[in-house]
Structures are given as C-alpha cells and as structure tokens.
Symmetry: C2
Subunit: 131 residues, 2 copies
Amino acid sequence: MDQPVITPIGILHGDIHSREDAPKFYSESDRRGILEIYPQYLEGLDGIMPGQTIVVLFWLHQAQRDVLKVYPRGDKSRGLRGVFATRSPMRPNPIAISELSVEAVDGNRVAVKGLDILDGSPIVDIKKKHS
Amino acid sequence: MDQPVITPIGILHGDIHSREDAPKFYSESDRRGILEIYPQYLEGLDGIMPGQTIVVLFWLHQAQRDVLKVYPRGDKSRGLRGVFATRSPMRPNPIAISELSVEAVDGNRVAVKGLDILDGSPIVDIKKKHS
C-alpha cells in the first residue's frame, strides 16, 4: 500500500503550548497566531486577503496515532466512540481542519484568528472556504 | 524538516474515472460510492450511522504537486491565483475535504453520496461534521 509523504508548507507560530491550554474547537477560539509559509510556496498565497476565512490543515505532531476509540470532548458520560465519528485530535492520520479569519498578510506571514492548534504545528495545506 | 507519512485507512470505490468526468465540487454531486475501510481501523467507525454527514479526507493520488498557480475552476477570465486561495486539486499536499451523506454502513463498508473524487483514491481520515 502506498504511503503518501506530506511536505509541510509552513509552520504555525502561536501561543498555545499544551492540550490543556487549547480551546476545544476553533469556533470557540479567538486565539491569534502567524502562519509562516516557507519561501518556496509563497506564490501559492496569491489571492489570500485580510477579512477572508480560510481553511487550514495542520499536522497534529503531538497527537497519538494508535487510538481508535475516545470519549468525545473528554466527556465520559456519553461512552466511547470511534475516532472517525468524532473531531478528536487522536486518529491514525492526525490532520486538523481549522477555519480561520485572516487579519493580515505580510509576505510569507499570514496573521490569523481562531486557533486551537499547538504552537509549532506543521501546516499541510490552505484552501479557500467553500461558499 | 519532518515529513509526516500518511497511512491510508481505506480506499474509495466509485464510478468517477477521470477528472473530466468528475463534478466540480461535492456540493454539486449526487455520485455514489463505497468507502472501504481496512479491517485494522474498523473500530474507529463506531458511531457512524446512515443519515449523518461526514467529513472525509482523500489523498488525490493523481494530482500534480508542483503547481502553485491555477485558473480557479478552469476559468481563464479571472486570471491566475495561488493554489492556497482556491479549492484546486493541484497543490503541494493534494488532500481533498469532502462532506458526504452516509447512506448505509455494513461492517467496514460505508456507502456515501456526494462524491467528486476519483475511484481508487486513498482515504486519509473521516471526521464528524462540526455542527
């Protein structure tokens, strides 16, 4: 079976340093940070502007990959559920999808709001939000 | 720089065999297919039920990875744009995000509707849709 290899396009600079300090979900967060895009991918940012909402895929480099059942949002009263029926960061391929507001674009640095992702996480992709 | 490796959790069986035959976007599609999840990940499906909308990440194994500017939706009248400001399948890490309706779950086979993804594409992840 092929195992695709991800080439990170950048890295997140933020102020969240542990799971405990992270908001549970981006829609509940007003935490700010900078998407630093590596120079060789700069051209791909053309068209991203302040005020837009972008969809950003992060690699959750600290997440466990060998867990298949979790308590959704840590709530044990609802019982265990398969990770694919949740938004848990723990999953075989720990990729997070965040919708973030663009506050500023300065060369290869994109200032965003709405983060629930750990500082230092590799950026996998950025997409236009589907309208 | 670390290069994370993706371990596909399954493979898509569908009836779209070329880009030309693919709907432009999942929200415009009623094409059906089967997500075949590999047996070792079966437990992760627990809680996925018919009627739900799930978010599925596919690896676009036929997409070009070395393109940074495209004509959005192939429309040359609007000029070139950076891939990160579009939903083009061409991008450094060609991962698609689809929202699909679950029609049936039979063991490790999940029948879905709304596909715009090529038959044989590796499945990277499945998530609950954020409500």
